[in-house]
Symmetry: C2
Subunit: 246 residues, 2 copies
DNA sequence: CGGTCACTTGATCGTCTTCAATACCAGTGG
DNA sequence: CCACTGGTATTGAAGACGATCAAGTGACCG
């Protein structure tokens, strides 16, 4: 059974058995803090939903009724100024947990950049779930701290790095995206976001992003087979640029 | 008894009764998650230390052996690039909890900008303490989420706001510093940090900070009685500037 | 006093932005 | 098959904001 709800599709969990036990995202997400035995309860709390690319499923300043756990696709998280200036604070991929809010409103908006599927947890019910599974709360703290560290790194980038350094940092970061720790970073990888998204993430303009990438190509640092794909040719150079050397 | 240890002074808890029960910082910190009865154990875990202004008591990339809870003074938290460029990621005042780290090393450095007193908790012992007091862990998650929200706001500032907007945001923020929620923000308040610190916090240079403050003064938005004191004359104008309007 | 340090102010410079034109690419329908 | 369209990316020229370089002021302190 499939239900249409505004522009999003809610997938009925009854269509399968416990939806969590075979979830692709579990090993990457907070849900792996819960044992197989207890997983059914988690599954009962989750509302699995799928939204199209371009759909905004979290709106800044709206009441924060739910938490989200992304199980497929990528979303961009951003804040806006009244005149439309936008800062993308991060990209949320598979396993990413969204919606941690202090006050009762979301601190940012989230928009799918590809088709996105997520588990939605009503706030109150997750609250109760966390009380019963302290391991999950511990995991959540870990996640929050991780994000905090990433945010500080991004502040360094936005406040003190040059355009070249920002792009280099971004490429190095993307090459490691979704790659398990022990694996080597990929040399060839997709960029699911547009130039405009990259610009708003790095605090630059589309033109500067485009020019800088072109420059990297002409310097033999990267290759750009398709507009949303990158091949790194000289990783060492990119990494030292990203780190602020030269 | 007072012990000298490198450039820091360790205050012996035995000098008083339980040091936590009368701690000025408690109502502002994570420690208020613990009941009076259990407070003694917290006190036994804490090592109260005092450091002078200018002393760096957390060094980025060093092994993260301890957590810190500031009970007096203010510290700046920052990251450096190899060539010395610096980004201050925040100022930590009374009640602020420091040292949450994912990996086993600190993600930033911390330097006292005034004499600072803090409680230091050895990592392993706090770990155990948290297992026994889940309320404190919950509180820690809250704190982390709060910081995350602040960090995202700062990314917006660093990535998309003009120098004027950054300074206005900074002044508005400082006017609310350490003021309880229901109280009105102060119109007159101190700036414990130097222009250089402000610059490194806002991603600007000292000169731009100085010029912009002078401009605000000439526009009748603020007054600067002493170099580390500010008086807000036109809060509305500052706030709308901070929000990106005009 | 001379010295240091933090801040202010002025003049010039450069990086990135802005404005504008062009190229590219996928999808659609004649 | 090809022209048309809308969105996205690239490239060029001019401009602005903030950085850099440099000099001057004021406070504090030995």
């Amino acid at each position: 059974m499939i239900t249409l709800q505004s522009r999003s599709i809610v997938l009925d969990p009854r269509s399968g058995a416990d939806p969590c036990i075979h979830c692709d995202a579990r090993p990457l997400s907070v849900c792996n803090a819960i044992s197989d035995a207890d997983l059914a309860r988690l599954g009962a709390t989750a509302i699995v939903t799928e939204v199209a690319a371009g759909s905004t499923f979290i709106e800044e300043a709206e009441p924060a009724h739910s938490f989200f756990n992304i199980t497929r696709g990528t979303a961009k998280l951003f804040k806006l100024l009244p005149d439309g200036r936008r800062q993308i604070t991060g990209f949320a991929g598979v396993g990413h947990f969204l919606g941690l809010a202090v006050s009762d409103t979301y601190a940012f908006s989230a928009e799918a950049i590809e088709p996105v599927r997520f588990c939605r947890f009503p706030r109150a019910r997750l609250r109760k779930l966390l009380d019963d599974f302290p391991a999950m709360e511990k995991r959540l703290l870990e996640v929050a701290v991780n994000e905090l560290v990433a945010a500080q790194e991004q502040m360094l980038l936005l406040g003190r790095k040059t355009a070249r350094e920002r792009l280099a940092s971004f490429l190095v970061m993307q090459s490691k995206q979704g790659v398990a720790c022990q694996h080597r970073p990929r040399m060839r990888f997709p960029l699911p976001m547009t130039r405009s998204d990259i610009a708003d993430y790095l605090g630059l303009t589309i033109e500067t992003v485009s020019r800088t990438l072109t420059k990297f190509r002409s310097e033999g640092l990267i290759e750009i087979p398709g507009q949303s794909e990158v091949l790194i040719l000289n990783r060492r150079a990119l990494e030292s640029l990203a780190g602020g050397l030269a």
